[in-house]
Amino acid sequence: MRVVLAEDLFLLRDGLVRMLEAFDFEIAAAVETGPELAKALAELQPDVAVVDVRLPPSHTDEGLQCALAARRARPGLPVLVLSQHVEQLYARELLADGNGGVGYLLKDRVFDAEQFVDAVRRVAAGGTAMDPTVIQQLLSRRSANEPLGALTPREREVLELMAQGRSNAAIAAQLVVTERAIAKHTSNIFAKLGLPVSDDDNRRVLAVLAFLDQGR
């Protein structure tokens, strides 16, 4: 799988290259500025891009803007955005086109190599990988009288993991229950939230986020 990597801090870029290579990714390019990233994404047609939000020369959200522009040029281009901080505003912008294949993670998540690589693979496959911080913010700002209040604590846990983009199998493994139990929870959640049941991983995350987005 071919990866384009954009990160301006040399140590982190180097670390990411080595980590991804250790997990059998092919690094098509590892760049450090916005214009280089835009060029690499247009010319190299990677399977997935791993991009830092803040890049030179402007040191603002240049990485994010490049990623969004590349996805407009090539809809569905898988992009995993890394950041020192996560903002719902940016998460929404990434999810806005509804094409899937996006991820938005804190840079700390690279500490857990396997989970991080899992997230890259999920995004490359057209799924999503949302940072738990984003999901927690979304869940916590909902008041009790909304449909989310009707969820049991266990169902909320499942919803959180589901919103991060994890599959039923992964959720089952994390919560140490059977996959059947998770399937039951998810159908309960969909029923309580009034969402049509779908077995498409990507769709269900978008549906969950779309629901959480309501009432703004």
């Binding site: 505003l89 500490f111 703004r216």
Partner: protein
């Protein structure tokens, strides 16, 4: 050219007539009221009536300034001392307000002006309409009205002409017409003279301007002091947070790594446990650093500017918040930062104390002024008092010559508005 001159003259006449009436009625009434009110200070009543009357005098003078600018292009600056940002309340506040107004030299010049305006001012103002109306009177006499007056024994004088016959009546009419012709040239000048006379007393004198500058210097010194104080406090907070937080965690991590190095071969299980702990420590150090950064200069603010930073802030609130931004460009970083933290604090207040379930934030920039309004539908009752968070915001905005206003009747809604002069880039 000709018709416009006639129109101007007639207009000046009408305005002069209006100013005469206003000058006489307004000035006499207000002068009498002021004198009585100031005299009553001795028995206490005046303390309460004087500020009211003097405020009316100021409004009246300001109206006069307005007419002067609009009708005669005479600009009269306002000399009054600024009210303090946080006036005292209750009877003590009344006394203070009364004393403050009486100490203001502009007050006494206002009273002098009332005297001048009801005499010389009124005379100057009556001339333009008189020059016009006198012609009408002359022609009325010439049309035969002179006769009954003369027959009744009235020796009517039209200016310097003694009207005793039709011919002298015609002479009066001719003189009236001459006055009208004169009015074409002098009417606008007379009206202007009326306002210029006012300006000599209503405009600030050189010493008043100097004092105004001195006051401004005082205010700048005060806000600079506040700015230095708060940035020093901010640095101390950052230093303490780093010292107690991230730094301590990194030290602990280093120690753990040292221990791990020593025991990794003897006790791999224990080493693994400690590695997990070290990783957790590094994660927490990062979280603390992240919070610290957010407190100094929020990343979204740095990356996107005020508009999106406020939007991002709203997304994190537990209360539904509508954000409307109309700012084409970026303000200077210190202004953006001050505005952002002010909004942040006001929103926090709204969520914490106001029990609001809806908040509206409106951010826009026009005419070199950044205006932000935060409205909530909560229970109201917020005020800029000593010790409230709002006065802290007010002081910080003061560094940028910004101002803060709060409207929050008990029962709500609360509306907090800020204005900061700044240019966008």
């Amino acid at each position: 050219m000709k018709t416009s001159r006639v129109r101007e003259s007639l207009l000046a006449g009408a305005r002069g007539l209006y100013m005469t009436v206003i000058s006489l009625v307004g000035s006499i009434t207000l002068f009498v009221l002021s004198v009585v009110s100031i005299a009553l200070i001795v028995i206490g009543i005046g303390v309460f009536t004087t500020p009211v009357v003097l405020t009316a005098v100021r409004k009246y003078a300001t109206l006069h300034r307005l007419h002067a600018g609009e009708w005669a292009d005479v600009r009269i600056p306002v000399p009054y001392r600024q009210d303090p940002a946080r006036p005292a309340r209750g009877p003590a506040g009344q006394v203070e307000r009364c004393t403050r107004m009486l100490k203001d030299p502009a007050t006494w010049r206002d009273l002098e002006w009332l005297l001048v305006n009801m005499t010389f001012g009124a005379i100057l103002a009556i001339l333009p309409p008189a020059l016009i109306l006198y012609m009408a009177y002359g022609w009325v006499l010439a049309c035969g009205v002179w006769k009954p007056i003369y027959d009744a024994g009235g020796g009517e004088w039209f200016a310097f002409i003694h009207v005793t016959s039709q011919s002298t009546a015609f002479a009066a009419a001719a003189l009236g017409s001459a006055f009208f012709a004169l009015s074409l040239y002098v009417n606008p000048l007379l009206l202007r003279a009326h306002f210029q006379l006012s300006r000599t007393l209503l405009a600030p004198t050189a010493t008043m301007r100097e004092r105004e500058l001195a006051l401004r210097v005082d205010r700048l010194e005060e806000t600079r002091h506040d700015a230095v104080d708060s940035s020093a406090a901010e640095l101390r907070r950052i230093e303490r947070d780093l010292h107690d937080g991230a730094q301590a965690r990194l030290v602990a991590m280093g120690m753990d790594l040292g221990t791990i190095e020593a025991i990794v071969e003897k006790d791999p299980a224990k080493a693994k446990e400690m590695i997990a702990k070290a990783r957790q420590n590094s994660g927490e150090a990062l979280t603390e650093l992240r919070d610290l950064v957010r407190g100094i200069h929020p990343p979204v603010l740095a990356e996107r500017g005020l508009g999106d930073a406020v939007r991002a802030l709203a997304l994190r609130l537990p209360v539904a918040t509508d954000v409307d931004v109309d700012v084409a460009g970026r303000a200077e970083a210190p202004v953006e930062s001050a505005a952002y933290f002010a909004v942040s604090e006001i929103l926090t207040n709204a969520v914490k104390y106001a029990q609001a379930d809806r908040i509206w934030v409106d951010v826009h920039h026009a005419d070199g002024m950044l205006r932000i309004a935060v409205t909530d539908n909560g229970r109201g009752g917020a005020s800029i008092g000593s010790g409230s968070g709002l006065s802290g915001i007010e002081r910080r905005l003061g560094t940028f010559d910004g101002i803060l206003a709060v409207s929050s009747p008990v029962g709500g809604p609360t509306m907090v508005t800020m204005e900061i002069p700044c240019e966008l880039s």
